[in-house]
């Protein structure tokens, strides 16, 4: 549903960005950046009849099975607590686009960390925070930042630890700002 209060000046507010009614484009770039597509000024992939962005951005924690083992669910093997055979990452998403970030390794289970290449998948993601600009900015900054040394267990940070600690750090930072 389109917000009506800005129609008179030809601008619609989509929680975080303004769109121009004549060009149907964002006046400022989409905060999800390039993850939403190569044109960061396009609203819901230029397909407003099929997609909407009524609530702005939300934060999600997502999982996916290990590629070597495969699987159709959220983990390789049964989706039960204690099963460590999955990759975990964070996403900031609306119904049209998403920015995701996670911890990957450059080589073995104990090697320099690097950003993981992840996609938002509604069936494997759980919402962990509603629309919150401070939190989203903090997470986007963390997604773009350097990664710590990867360690499966013991010294280093694995993907699950990175997702948990990054989310907690940003939530704490934004709580302090309130």
């Amino acid at each position: 549903m389109l917000p009506l209060n800005y129609i008179s000046i030809g601008l619609f507010v989509f929680m975080l960005c303004f769109t121009n009614s004549a060009s149907a484009r964002y006046v400022e770039s989409d905060p999800v950046g390039l993850e939403g597509g190569p044109n960061i000024y396009i609203y819901v992939s230029d397909n407003p009849l099929n997609f909407t962005d009524p609530l702005g951005l939300k934060t999600y924690k997502c999982t996916k099975p290990l590629h070597a083992l495969g699987g159709t669910g959220r983990r390789s093997g049964p989706d039960v607590p204690g099963n460590p055979l999955y990759h975990e990452y964070l996403c900031i998403s609306n119904s049209g686009a998403a920015a995701c970030g996670g911890q990957d390794r450059s080589d073995g289970p104990w090697s320099p960390g690097k950003p993981s290449l992840d996609v938002f998948n509604t069936t494997r993601c759980d919402e962990v925070a509603p629309d919150n600009k401070c939190l989203e900015d903090c997470l986007l900054s963390a997604f773009a930042g350097p990664r710590p040394y990867y360690g499966l267990c013991g010294p280093g940070t694995n993907c699950q630890e990175w997702a948990d600690s990054t989310l907690k750090k940003c939530q704490k930072k934004c709580e302090c700002k309130k």
Binding site: A68, G70, S76, G77, D107, S111, C153
Partner: protein, 177 residues
């Protein structure tokens, strides 16, 4: 003495039934989970998770076997060594040649459970060595068949010494006291 005779004798001992239950559960999980996974189109994932749970149950059975005796430690040892070898075979079979293959992550978790708690020391040791080698000569420590076999061997040997050399040594010492 056949395994069946041993099992009959083990059942009659104090914690014998608990030991048989642990072995039965380990076997049931190793067979049942992959079957369930096959139905859910996730055979390998369920089999891999089955290895982790069965390893934990076999470790528990080794501790109980020192109390039960009657050849139960030999059966537990056979199961533990056998499962360790199967984990290595599974890992090498699924290794796709990629440097950051997820199969190394599976091997790490599997050996962490299989050789727990000595695997914690092994992990810290491998992490330390990897850190220095990655800084000095990263080409030496690329994930490949040699890397996977080395990680498995170090964890396996540490686990073997822990379960079948160190623990019996301390048990004998305690009994003498």
């Amino acid at each position: 003495m056949t395994i069946m005779t041993s099992i009959t004798q083990i059942r009659q001992r104090g914690l014998g039934k608990a030991l048989i239950v642990a072995w039965g559960l380990a076997l049931l999980i190793l067979i049942g989970l992959p079957l369930l996974g096959y139905l859910q189109q996730d055979f390998l994932g369920h089999l891999a998770f089955g290895f982790l749970i069965s390893s934990a149950l076999l470790n528990l059975s080794i501790i109980i076997s020192y109390k039960v005796e009657c050849g139960s430690t030999q059966i537990a040892k056979g199961g533990w060594v056998g499962l360790g070898v199967v984990i290595l075979g599974f890992t090498l079979y699924l290794f796709d040649g990629q440097p950051n293959s997820d199969i190394a992550v599976f091997l790490g978790w599997a050996m962490l459970v299989h050789s727990f708690p000595s695997s914690l020391i092994v992990s810290a040791l491998i992490a330390g060595i990897s850190y220095f080698l990655n800084a000095l000569a990263p080409e030496i420590i690329r994930v490949g068949y040699i890397y996977l076999c080395t990680v498995w061997m170090v964890s396996f040997v540490a686990g073997y010494f822990q379960w079948f050399k160190v623990i019996p040594f301390f048990i004998t010492k305690l009994r003498r006291k």
